[in-house]
Symmetry: C2
Subunit: 212 residues, 2 copies
Amino acid sequence: MSEKTEAAGAVSDDGLAERHNARMARKKEVVDKKIAAAKRDAGVLLVTCGNGKGKSSSAFGMVARALGHGMKVGVVQFIKGAIPTGEEKFFRRFPEEVSFHVMGEGYTWETQNRERDVEKAQLAWARAKELLTDDSIGLIVLDELNIALKYKYLDVQQVIADLRARPAMQHVVVTGRGAPPELIEAADTVTEMQLVKHAFAAGIAAQPGVEW
Amino acid sequence: MSEKTEAAGAVSDDGLAERHNARMARKKEVVDKKIAAAKRDAGVLLVTCGNGKGKSSSAFGMVARALGHGMKVGVVQFIKGAIPTGEEKFFRRFPEEVSFHVMGEGYTWETQNRERDVEKAQLAWARAKELLTDDSIGLIVLDELNIALKYKYLDVQQVIADLRARPAMQHVVVTGRGAPPELIEAADTVTEMQLVKHAFAAGIAAQPGVEW
């Protein structure tokens, strides 16, 4: 065992290493089988929901991944829009690669006007449909669409029909609290971001680069 | 109500709009109070854990946010590294802004060599410590560090001590399954990404731009 290892206090002995290697070999078998079974290439419909932090940011991480693979990306933000976010400022640097549309006016509890929220959501969906019929776009982020569906600003069946009609290899990520069950049913990959704790509770304000 | 709204089948009537507005007004009060209470600026320690998709991608979304706000970012990938990812290819475009370190050799069940995994993790931590003592770096991603802690490749108390000693305004995101309770206790914001479903189960292979 190297000095470096001891210095940082890692736990290690020969028995542990052997057991670890045996366990990893079994794990490799399981993982290999799973991967071998998942062979089909297809556009994936992802939904991120729940009360925890990470829904929109995970979608924007996928934007970075997609750009790294040379794909073109579309983003429609349904609710956010009152203040310019870090993600907007950053991805607008690449107008050839990212088509970025901020269609909201802040969270609905800030606007307090249902008619206006509905109209804004309809306009945003029209923009989303343009992206959903463009097969040069590899990944689309529909940020906070779940909230627009939760408050019935949009009809969930129409939204699902439009999503199903998209190009076969196009990926779509839908984010936000309150994802309707019909959308979860239609999706391929769904993650519920569970709040374990949040810095707000410790009195820390929303920090640029973290929350926006 | 506009024709556009009716065309997309949104549910709306005057009573609904009134109830909605009253509800949103109450919600605004609650949210405003919470935000007013969270006033302190501080570097945030975030942990993303759980079995669902979105742990690393949410960290990389925060990288995009931070870059949008003009911050410098450091990334250390503890486990991944066997294949070049989209996030690596993309963020390496900005060497002045992002210091990107891939220190792993793939998942541990691929390597099956504990000694080597421990050594790699120690080297990765040494790199992380350089970033954690550099106050020009606003956000650090320690990708899959949780896995290195889970397998005791690193000592959790030493890791927490080093995290606590970082510059006051530096944000750190730690990702990966199996976050140890001590790290969750030390963190400000913790999200557990819960697997609701995954495209693998439907036979869809890991897609570039989504999983890597």
